[in-house]
């Protein structure tokens, strides 16, 4: 297979907390992180120094794990009991940075398409073309109770709604022609009424007239990310995703998934390069292998078995705390046969495939939040990344770093130069927008499309 000529896409996942459950307790972590804007600014500025394409923030609309006080009090990195609302946070960070992109999560299950379209369009203007929306349908059922519902919507309904919401949001982003706002003081024509169009959407889940009250954005449209790994999620990504946070737990799995999702794109008239598939990857890097091993060992030792088992229970979606620590991981209970998350299912598969005990399973899951990890020197880390990239297991990665700010700094100082030396990453930002830097085409506005067609 010939070597790829395109650039590897690189994002940094999370903020100031670190991705390992024990990360915040490490001596080299920030002394405190809750609602510390200065730490987020420091992270964004560091990311820009490392020429990362974007920061990525997962998000939810609820306080989670309150029914598991041990885990709740220990603050697992993906539970976020107290974090900034991501779009307002990025609006603030946009004033401290110039190049790094901002991927913020918003859910189609509880938010109106008009509101979503507006806040991301606003962020795209504020940041000069660096905004992306990570579309999620929300997996955590308890969040529903913050939005007038006792039960979460089923997956099928969530994805049907998500697709309709995406269509509406994109149509709203297409409301105005690039040149709609004349702002001519002499004639008094502020805007051209012929250069704006209604959305007039009437669908199963939404009725939205439009147009959006934000001018066309610097990127034409903000970039759209997704994260779902279910069949519905893959289909939606092929239909309309431009970035995909992958969760495949091995290279073979990632290659199969890559081929599967890209193979679904032609039927929507989309070339494969219009979607970047970016698996999560946790990085434990040191100047020597021993240094990387030490960091890893230090972090693992911070987690008590009780906490580890609770964490694993949360990931797989059922309680393991009454089972023997050194006994096997059981199958999911029948009640969960159709539910659970993609990550939960992939962890169970791994545990069964590798015949892990409960203790071994949580020890495997901790360092990478159940995703992929690589540990070693910069050369070893880059070997791993290059292999996945060249094997078309991915188009790049969304990195998780275990201890902040130490781990991001190590990655930037040790790994980034090696990536650049091998030509996998550019020496500097190639463009001024997130689309430019990710190698995504800029959408043409419908007015120009119509003119070209006539």
């Amino acid at each position: 297979m010939s070597k790829r000529k395109d650039r590897m896409v690189l994002g940094i996942n999370g903020g100031a907390l670190g991705g390992h459950l024990g990360g915040w307790r490490h001596p080299d972590s920030f002394p405190d992180t809750t609602m510390r804007l200065d730490r987020m600014i420091e992270t964004a500025v560091a990311g820009e120094r490392g020429k990362f394409d974007f920061m990525f923030l997962a998000d939810g609309n609820g306080v989670r794990q309150m029914d598991k006080p041990l885990l709740f009090a220990a603050n697992s990195p993906s539970d976020r009991p107290s974090v900034f609302e991501p779009v307002t946070l990025y609006a603030a960070l946009s004033q401290h940075t110039k190049h790094i992109g901002f991927v913020a999560t918003a859910t189609t299950s509880y938010e109106e398409p008009f509101m979503i379209a507006r806040k991301f369009a606003s962020l795209d203007h504020l940041s000069g073309g660096r905004a992306a929306w990570n579309l999620v349908t929300t997996q955590y059922v308890e969040d529903a109770k913050n939005f007038n519902r006792d039960e979460h919507m089923g997956r099928e309904e969530r994805y049907e709604r998500a697709r309709e919401s995406l269509d509406v949001v994109r149509s709203l982003w297409d409301s105005w022609a690039e040149d709609a706002f004349i702002q001519d003081k002499a004639t008094g024509r502020y805007l051209d009424p012929a250069r704006v169009r209604l959305t007039n959407h009437r669908g199963k889940h939404f009725k939205v007239k439009g147009p959006l009250n934000v001018a066309r954005t610097p990127q034409g449209q903000p970039v759209v990310f997704m994260a779902g790994q279910s069949d519905d999620g893959k289909e939606l990504a092929a239909y309309g995703g431009e970035g995909l946070f992958g969760t495949a737990s091995s290279k073979d799995e990632a290659m199969a998934e890559y081929a599967d999702i890209k193979g679904r794109m032609p039927k929507y008239g989309r070339p494969p390069e219009a979607l970047k598939i970016l698996p999560g990857l946790s990085i434990y890097v040191g100047r020597t292998e021993a240094e990387a091993d030490d960091l890893y060992g230090e972090l693992q030792s911070l987690i008590s078995p009780a906490l580890g088992v609770t964490y694993l229970s949360k990931i797989v979606g059922f309680d393991l705390s009454r089972l023997p620590l050194d006994g096997p991981v059981p199958d999911a209970p029948a009640s969960q046969a159709l539910g659970g998350t993609a990550i939960g299912r992939s962890v169970l598969e791994m545990a069964h495939r590798d015949k892990l005990t409960i203790r071994q399973a949580y020890e495997r899951v901790l360092p990478a939040m159940a995703g992929n990890m690589v540990k070693g020197t910069a050369a070893q880390v880059v070997d791993f990344m290059e292999d996945w990239f060249q094997s078309r297991a991915c188009d790049g990665f969304i990195l998780s770093v275990p201890v902040q700010p130490r781990s991001l700094k190590s990655f930037i100082d040790l790994v980034v130069p090696e990536l650049q030396r091998r030509g996998l990453r550019p020496e500097d930002y190639v463009g001024s927008t997130l689309r430019d830097n990710m190698g995504l085409a800029r959408p043409v506005d419908p007015f120009t499309r119509e003119r070209a067609a006539s």
Partner: protein, 450 residues
């Protein structure tokens, strides 16, 4: 001390404002211009900048008016909480107040955005709660136009849920103790468990207690249910009234209602909107005013008045009176509509005279003249208990705000009725508001035992 908010609308408050030679050349989505405005306001030690907002493109059915862009149309503008989060990075003291609607948004989302903004700005955030009177906006949310009473019933419950969500966490809930591994204290957070007519919200909010305890809450409604809700819950009120006497009456009315909720009158600051045309001499102020009036053709003036009154006046004699069958209430009409109608009736104005009076100030009062004259009027209104301060509109930006800050603010400071420096760093502090009540504050008994 008088309190001053400003609406840093980049197109200015006069329908012709954006066309004036001293106006910003490219106001659409212009972040730099907005930052400049906020910094001028901070230089003037103003309490806050305030952004009105809506969720729709308006007046598309009136192409002449639509193309001319009247000041409250906002066909293309930043979403206000994102804009003000950015602006709080380039200012240090001034409050930032954004509008969000209780009619189309979710309490959990609103609580979250404003709590986030309060943390980002380190205690300078305010939420202007509106019920969205514009009928067309509902069509962006799959809803029919909402009747006023329903909107306010929902608004009251919405506010109550948001206030409870903001009080989810105790101030000491996040020990973040590396030694013990206790990041948070599960006993220092409580669910909201709200079950009401419009909302069921379990809570808690996923944001710790904010620097202000809770962001400052403004309201704007002047209707009967609007005044009642403000008396009960608002910290600030963007009032409206065309005359000093209107404002004196409204002030007494609203403050009088506070008693039944056990609230001291100074816990709500009433800041009526006023448009300022100021210049070093009275002749220059007059000239400025006329320059702007001359930019508006009669056709455009009539369209604008039609919009404000929610009634098509096209084709009626310019120099005749308004039709005498104007409805008392309309869905989609605002308090301004009533003020304009009252003014036209009281002063027996023609259609032309009515639009000419409406143009310079969106139907609100105008203070025009030298710095001394403007300060005299402001002081008079303030001392007459017509208000606790003002929400300033300037006809042309950035000239209007700059002139106000350079000419009028020093005069107010000289008279000792406006601050010379910020004395606090939070919006709650600037406005002289009490600490927000919280379920986590020790009770009197607990304080006594300690």
């Amino acid at each position: 001390m008088m309190h001053l908010a400003t609406i840093p609308n980049l197109v200015g408050g006069h329908l012709g404002g954006w066309r004036h030679k001293d106006a910003f050349d490219q106001p659409v989505m212009n972040l730099e211009a907005f930052i400049e405005m906020s910094q001028i306001a901070e230089r003037g030690k103003l309490d806050c900048v305030f952004l009105a907002d809506g969720n729709g493109v308006r007046d598309m059915h009136m192409p002449a008016l639509f193309a001319a862009n009247h000041p409250s149309a906002r066909p293309a503008f930043f979403e206000p909480t994102t804009l003000l989060s950015a602006v709080s990075m380039v200012t240090k003291k001034i409050g930032v107040v954004a509008t969000a609607t209780s009619t189309f948004d979710e309490p959990y989302m609103v609580a979250r955005r404003f709590a986030s903004m309060d943390h980002i700005s380190k205690g300078r955030a305010g939420w202007n709660l509106v019920t969205a009177s514009n009928a067309g906006d509902a069509l962006n949310f799959g809803l029919p136009p909402q009747a006023r009473d329903d909107r306010y019933a929902r608004a009251q419950e919405f506010y109550e849920v948001v206030a409870k969500l903001w009080d989810s966490w105790a101030p000491d809930a996040f020990p973040q103790n590396k030694e013990t591994g206790q990041y948070l204290d599960p006993t220092r957070v409580r669910p909201t468990d709200h079950k009401g007519t419009f909302f069921d919200v379990k809570g808690p909010l996923n944001i710790s207690q904010t620097p202000q305890g809770r962001p400052v809450v403004f309201m704007a409604g002047q209707s009967e249910p609007g005044m009642e809700l403000a008396a009960r819950y608002a910290d600030g009120l963007f009032g409206a009234g065309t005359t000093k006497q209107d404002c004196i009456d409204a002030y007494a009315n609203i403050k009088g209602r506070m008693v039944r909720y056990g609230r001291p009158q100074d816990h709500l600051k009433i800041l009526p909107g006023v448009s300022v045309y100021v210049a070093p001499t009275a002749a220059e102020a007059e000239e400025f005013y006329e320059e702007l009036q001359s930019l508006i053709s009669p056709v455009l003036g009539v369209h604008y008045l039609s919009k404000m009154l929610v009634r098509d006046l096209d084709g009626l004699p310019l120099d005749g009176p308004l039709p005498d069958d104007m409805a008392e209430e309309t869905v989609g009409g605002s308090s301004l509509r009533r003020y304009i109608l009252d003014m036209a009736k009281r002063e027996k104005l023609t259609i032309r005279q009515t639009y000419e009076r409406t143009l310079p100030a969106l139907g609100g009062p105008v203070f025009k003249g030298t710095p001394t004259q403007v300060a005299d009027e402001m002081e008079d209104w303030w001392k007459s208990k017509a208000c606790d301060g003002f929400t300033l509109l300037q006809p042309v930006q950035p000239r209007g705000l700059r002139d106000f800050v350079d000419l009028v603010v020093p005069e107010l400071q000289k008279r000792g009725i406006f601050r010379k420096e910020y004395e606090t760093s939070t919006l709650r502090g600037h406005l002289g508001l009490p600490e927000a009540p919280s379920q986590w504050q020790p009770t009197a008994a607990e304080r006594g035992a300690a």
